[in-house]
């Protein structure tokens, strides 16, 4: 079975390498991209969308359809992680609790005491006693990390950044809490249900903006038609449309990062890990 897989991989790789011969050379001024689209984007992007960062304008406006499905790929990655690890997991795991008043440790099989209880304290089996300094610094720093993530999303118009990068930073801030405290604390802050809803909301926001453009009489993802409900001219509407889809991308990427981390590090149990 492994041999068949290896043969397929090698063949596909060889085909891909062979097909690269047909590509234009790196930076070739006579290549199709260099003669038509690149010059068009570089000269027209700012006056058509009022976005100084051409990369953002190309990704989210001219090639918005492509980026929408990239967001869909991220969504599928999160979904795949969830389906493979979380759904196939039997629920009755052993768990340990400490009775706070007496210090007695309880070993409970296939039953659950609520995690938040004044009498019992959950103990991780893979527990490492975490550190006060690391805990405090990470707790104080998480809001700044999130602020920076929001800045990166909102400033995609002017500087390198945008939904994907900002979403990863936002997700990293929650993962930081999960690493420095424990996973249950992080899930207490942002529950599994919320993450899953956010995962879908981001993609829905992106494609919803596209569908809204159709309803307003334009093509799919043609942000210029949004000018009718935003009370601005078409150029400003394109800029705002880009911001809208960036926010959608950011929400999805953040939620997917968190769900991938949670599922992979805890083997799908979502109660303790790393």
């Amino acid at each position: 079975m492994k041999a068949i897989g290896l043969i397929i991989v090698v063949l596909a790789g060889a085909l891909l390498l062979y097909s690269t011969q047909d590509f234009p050379f790196w930076g070739d001024p006579a290549s199709p991209a260099g003669t038509h689209t690149a010059t068009y984007y570089l000269t027209k992007a700012f006056e058509e969308t009022s976005v100084p960062n051409v990369v953002t304008a190309v990704l989210a406006d001219y090639r918005g359809f492509d980026t929408m499905f990239e967001t869909g790929v991220i969504f599928c990655a999160g979904l795949g992680c969830f389906v493979l690890l979380r759904l196939s997991r039997s629920r009755d795991e052993d768990s340990y609790y400490r009775h706070v008043a007496t210090g007695i440790t309880l070993h409970i099989k296939s039953a659950k005491i609520p995690d938040v209880s004044s009498e019992f304290e959950r103990i991780d089996t893979l527990w490492t006693p975490y550190d006060l300094i690391v805990k405090t610094v990470c707790r104080l720093l998480a809001p700044f990390v999130q602020l920076f993530g929001l800045y990166v999303i909102a400033h995609g118009h002017h500087s390198p950044g945008g939904g994907f990068q900002g979403g990863v930073i936002l997700g990293a801030s929650v993962i930081l809490i999960a690493i420095s405290h424990n996973m249950r604390t992080a899930i207490g802050r942002i529950s599994e249900k919320t993450i899953h809803i956010l995962m879908a909301v981001g993609v829905l926001l992106y494609s919803g903006i596209g569908a809204l453009c159709i309803l307003l009489g334009g093509n799919f993802l043609d942000y210029a038609s949004l000018s009718r409900i935003l009370f601005t001219n078409e150029i400003e509407a394109r800029s705002l449309g880009i911001l809208g889809v960036e926010v959608g991308v950011g929400i999805t990427v953040m939620a997917v990062m968190i769900t991938i981390y949670n599922n992979l590090s805890s083997d799908g149990r979502l109660d303790e890990g790393l």
Partner: protein
Amino acid sequence: MDIIVVFLIICGLVFFTGGAVGILRFPDFYTRLHPAGKMDTLGSFLMVLAVSLFNLREFSWAAVLTSLKILLIVLFIFILNPTATHAIVDAGFRAGMRPWTKKDKGK
């Protein structure tokens, strides 16, 4: 102004060089983390301070704002670098790594 900037950068480089030599020369894991944590923090403080001063050569309020943002990096490095070093040392200690003593000399 330029003299101050050059002076600060050279000072920062001295600290970075000391840190690099320390990482290479010290005998074990914990002692190597000592220059990595301390020298890099002060070295990057001096370097970033020099950069933010250099940014102020043509004075304007926008430049002041940029310099303040650059100085924010220093603030976060000051908090984070020692914490990261502490976390690594902590992890090493819990994993059972024994500190170097004079008895291990010559190994």
